[in-house]
Assembly symmetry: C2
Homo-oligomer: 195 residues x 2
């Protein structure tokens, strides 16, 4: 049996590496604005979701608390209106350093691809051909709409130097969703050829 007094290692000093979501939230704050959790959720919905994903609001609040406990963000109460307060968050120099290190050094996780439409086509031997084409056609429209939305987001975004990289990623997002739409079209043609 292990000696109980030695079997437990002291809590490691080096900061445990955070989930990518935490870095994404900190990343939103790295553009320099003071924001509430609610603000962050809206911003994630209108930008992050096109190439990453938008966490649930409850998770954002949780990550903000964790980031604050690590000293990566600071917060204070600010008047929302006469009666209520809201909590504004700002990135700290320590947080900026940690995020910079993460961007530079952390191994890049391979992109997650979990394509429910492909999964269903793969099981085509169990489906009615018409219904299958319907599923793919619906996905085609979904991709087309994502393309519309990311294009709209790009047009309304600022053009200053500060937004160079987000703009570049939005361009990438447009191409991505256009490709996704074209891929759906090609799959529809393949399905129709089956008769």
């Amino acid at each position: 049996m292990a000696n109980p007094s030695t079997s437990r290692l002291p809590r490691e000093i080096a900061p445990r590496s955070l989930p990518a979501t935490a870095w994404a939230v900190l990343g939103l704050l790295s553009f320099g604005r003071d924001l509430t959790g609610y603000d962050l959720k809206k911003w994630a919905d209108s930008s992050l979701r096109f190439f990453y994903w938008s966490p649930a609001i409850s998770q954002i609040y949780g990550e903000l608390r964790r980031l604050e406990s690590l000293g990566y963000v600071e917060s204070w109460a600010a008047p929302q209106d006469e009666l209520r307060n809201k909590r504004l968050y700002r990135i700290t120099p320590l947080g900026r350093d940690a995020l910079t290190t993460w961007v530079r050094d952390s191994p890049v996780e391979p992109p997650v691809l979990k394509h429910g439409v492909a999964l269903r086509v793969w099981l085509g031997h169990l489906a009615d051909p018409g219904a299958l084409r319907g599923i793919v056609a619906a996905h085609r429209e979904y991709a087309a709409q994502m393309l519309d939305e990311v294009s709209a987001a790009r047009r309304t975004a600022g053009q200053n130097a500060e937004w160079t990289y987000p703009e570049l990623v939005e361009r990438w997002g447009e191409r991505y969703w256009a490709a996704e739409r074209d891929l759906a079209d090609a799959m529809l043609r393949d399905l129709e050829e089956l008769g």
Copy 2:
């Protein structure tokens, strides 16, 4: 206060809908072969992962137990060699029906996109331009390799009618990874234009 005797509804009879992973595992079995958990993991690694993803082996074993408790699969011990047994699984008619219903009726989850490379480029204001290009270039190679692997898988796959739909999805996978590679190239060009 709610009356404790009525505040709790009776356990619903209708089968709770399973996570997509369970349907994917059942889907592997729907091609009609008797397989072990280990076999299923290998097959997932060589086909599912190109368009969905390959669950951990421990999860496959767990899902198999759940599917068996629902009557969707049956299993029996078979001799692996003189000393050991392995457990073979087969889909049941009930399981086939349930899977068919799922393919037909379940709402299709929008494809998950969680692109770590795009996230890092989006934070480009914190990175050294050369390092950023390095990240994208590595991703370009990753996509190219996925393309190679899915092409190889398609060439070695059976050509009979049974494999029509898997083959179609593999074709889709080839196009997908080719597009991903081209998207990385385009992003590299955009990054280089920044100077």
